[in-house]
């Protein structure tokens, strides 16, 4: 059913951007619709830029007026930005699920009453999606727990990890929804019999992940028999290679599982410091909610839940993706 809906939606989109001469702005399918869009981190960071580019491309193709909001991944900022968006009475709003279902419940109920289409991305709001799916409440993002689980499975497989091996998970489990991916990674490593330590990422490291280097280095020196490091933080993934070098580790000596494809992560993949990284296909997380907004607002189509991240990138598969990553698409 979901697949059929996706095909129908894609068909409608294809018609909207078909090459029958340049469409006038007012003729485009989404003309007159204003959409507020929570992009997640900071403008341009590696875990945000492809989403921004995807949303902009869809808005351009469909004639939607896009209003971008950046929260630095802070849940309380996401809530206040949602209030600001509702105050402007737009056609649609895309929200991120990091604050959780309960925090958003009243605000979403109010928006739905006013006929504003709400949809979600990156981090799911399952309860709210189930409640308002008929009004266009969808989800474009990774199934967070499954994403973490997949990363851990590929770490075990590619790193030949075995029962009793020591591992570190450096994550954000304290965050209601986002923490689920770290939980999935942790649970899977534990279930495979690994001894897993957990460290919570501080707000400073969350903002500027180069500050993670001495922390990871210190942990590596304390635990010379460590076999694996896992994280579901894109910018931290980018700096793990530097921490490994500082601690005197060679490529491949430690199995590293991360997320996203920033330039530094690509280098680390090429050199073999990073073993696997979950590819969330962030561009889709920008493109699809805009499409969802237009189709629900215009034709009353219900919400689609699309898992945008079903695979990992390894040192063997990174080469082909580099040109697209350089353009901020992958």
């Amino acid at each position: 059913m979901k697949r059929l809906a996706l095909i129908a939606a894609s068909g409608a989109l294809a018609l909207a951007i078909a090459p029958n001469g340049p469409a006038r702005a007012e003729d485009k399918l989404g003309a007159g619709i204003t959409m507020y869009f929570q992009m997640g981190g900071n403008p341009g960071d590696g875990a945000t830029l492809p989403r921004t580019n995807g949303a902009r491309a869809a808005a351009e193709a469909l004639g939607v007026t896009l209003k971008e909001q950046y929260s630095g991944w802070q849940p309380e900022t996401m809530l206040s930005q949602f209030r600001e968006a509702l105050a402007a009475s737009p056609g649609c709003v895309e929200i991120m699920g990091h604050p959780g279902n309960e925090a958003f419940a009243k605000l979403v109920a109010d928006a739905e009453k006013r006929g504003i289409v709400i949809t979600s991305g990156n981090s799911p709001l399952t309860k709210l999606k189930d409640q308002y799916v008929a009004n266009g409440f969808g989800y474009a993002g990774v199934d967070l727990y499954e994403g973490g689980k997949l990363t851990a499975q590929k770490m075990i497989e590619n790193g030949k990890l075995k029962k009793g091996d020591k591992a570190l998970e450096y994550g954000l489990r304290a965050q209601a929804e986002r923490g689920k991916s770290d939980q999935g990674l942790y649970d899977t490593l534990v279930a495979a019999g690994l001894q897993v330590d957990y460290i919570e990422i501080s707000p400073e490291v969350d903002h500027d992940s180069s500050l993670a280097v001495p922390i990871i280095s210190a942990y590596l020196l304390k635990h010379p028999d460590l076999k694996a490091i896992g994280t579901q933080h894109g910018n931290v993934t980018a700096f793990i290679a530097k921490a490994l070098k500082d601690a005197g580790k060679k490529p491949g000596e430690i199995t590293v599982g991360g997320i996203d494809l920033s330039p530094a992560t690509i280098d680390a993949l090429k050199k073999g410091y990073v073993t696997v990284t979950l590819d969330q296909q962030l561009y889709l997380q920008g493109f699809l909610p805009v499409m969802q907004c237009v189709l629900s607002k215009k034709y009353g189509l219900s919400g689609l839940a699309i898992n945008t991240g079903a695979g990992v990138v390894t040192p063997g598969s990174i080469g082909a993706l580099v040109p697209l990553i350089d353009k901020g698409i992958r």
Binding site: G41, P43, D45, P214, A218, Y219, L221, K222, A264, I266
Partner: protein
């Protein structure tokens, strides 16, 4: 006994001795709890890498705070100058031009901060908060939001000069310490430093006795901009990459390093030795706690407790008589209850 006590008090009054004693105590504790990590040189070298840009920014901020001002825009200078340098290397293979332009960008931002604060009279906390947003936003716009990986730049002379290793020792820490010594001389031996302390103590009186307060403040802001830009050069070259949130995590860390080091929040009194030791404490705090075996959600709480204990310990060592006053008061109260 009295003579021995006074000798101890005299030693503790030497600039930086109390905070150094606190640092040594923390290192000793780390050695006890994590000997595998803290009896190896590697961890200290790793801390020195993150300590270097932190110290350079904290030293610049110490001078500004001494003059009773604050700069909240330096994280954006780190981003802007980092982009300028990375752009010149990535797009034009011109690292020296990048270095000069990065420092010039920092100087320009600092100078404009100085003009807004000293000439237009806008409070520095508001002015530099606004310019933090302005320059951070412009950096994102200039870079189109993209990050740069600088690839293998180890052989560039600019890298060898600023971020190479002498044995295991990161060269950037020598730059940071050298700059701090120079700034100490400026603050304590040159008229500019004297003027800053005078302005921080009482800006009106400083103006009345002939100090050009506007010019000196503008110079201090410009110097801060250049130092933040230089810190950014070290960060960008050592990370071999630029990302436009670069520097965003340093705001509170730099301020903590300055205040832990004993610089007065009200201006007029500053300790660059204290700032240097404070910067090392901040650089090692989280890593040390993690190496000591604290895990999960407790790291942050323990870090806060350690920093609080460090400040209290420092205050006590700096002035043992004053530090013991609450104990004496408690004793006298208990004594009066007993009677």
């Amino acid at each position: 006994m009295a003579a021995r006590e006074s000798a101890l008090v005299r030693v503790l009054r030497i600039e930086g001795v109390p905070i150094t004693a606190v640092l040594l105590l923390l290192v000793a504790l780390c050695m006890v709890f994590a000997p595998e990590a803290f009896l190896s040189y590697r961890i200290y070298m790793s801390f020195l890498v993150s300590f270097s840009p932190l110290l350079i920014m904290a030293a610049g901020l110490t001078l500004l705070i001494a003059a009773g001002e604050i700069d909240l825009s330096f994280p954006s200078v780190v981003a802007l100058s980092g982009w300028v340098l990375a752009y010149c290397i990535h797009e034009h293979e011109a690292p020296w031009l990048g270095l000069i332009l990065a420092l010039a960008a920092g100087a320009l931002v600092g100078f404009l901060n100085g003009v807004v604060v000293a000439r237009l009279g806008i409070p520095s906390i508001i002015a530099t908060l606004a310019t933090q947003f302005l320059w951070g936003g412009l950096t994102t716009g200039f870079s189109h939001g993209l990050s740069y990986s600088l690839g293998d730049i180890d052989e560039l002379m600019v890298c060898k000069l600023f971020v190479d290793r002498i044995g295991p020792l990161p060269v950037q820490c020598l730059w940071a310490l050298g700059l701090t010594v120079w700034l100490w001389l400026v603050l304590n031996r040159r008229p500019f430093g004297e003027h800053l302390l005078f302005i921080g103590d009482n800006v009106k009186v400083a103006g009345l006795v002939g100090v050009n307060t506007r010019r000196e403040k503008t110079r201090a802001f410009t110097l801060m901009g250049v130092l933040a830009a230089f810190a950014s050069v070290l960060l960008t070259l050592d990370n071999r990459s630029f990302f436009n949130t670069q520097g965003a995590g340093y705001l509170l860390q730099v301020m903590a390093a300055v205040f832990i080091g004993g610089t007065s929040v009200f201006g007029g009194k500053a300790s660059l030795v204290g700032t240097a030791v404070g910067a090392y404490i901040i650089a090692m705090a989280e890593g040390g706690i993690v190496a000591a075996g604290v895990q999960g959600f407790w790291v942050r709480a323990v870090e806060g407790a350690v920093l609080l204990a460090a400040v209290i310990g420092y205050r006590f060592l700096q002035n043992p008589e004053k530090g013991l006053a609450p104990v004496r008061l408690l004793r006298s109260k208990l004594g009066s209850v007993d009677r």
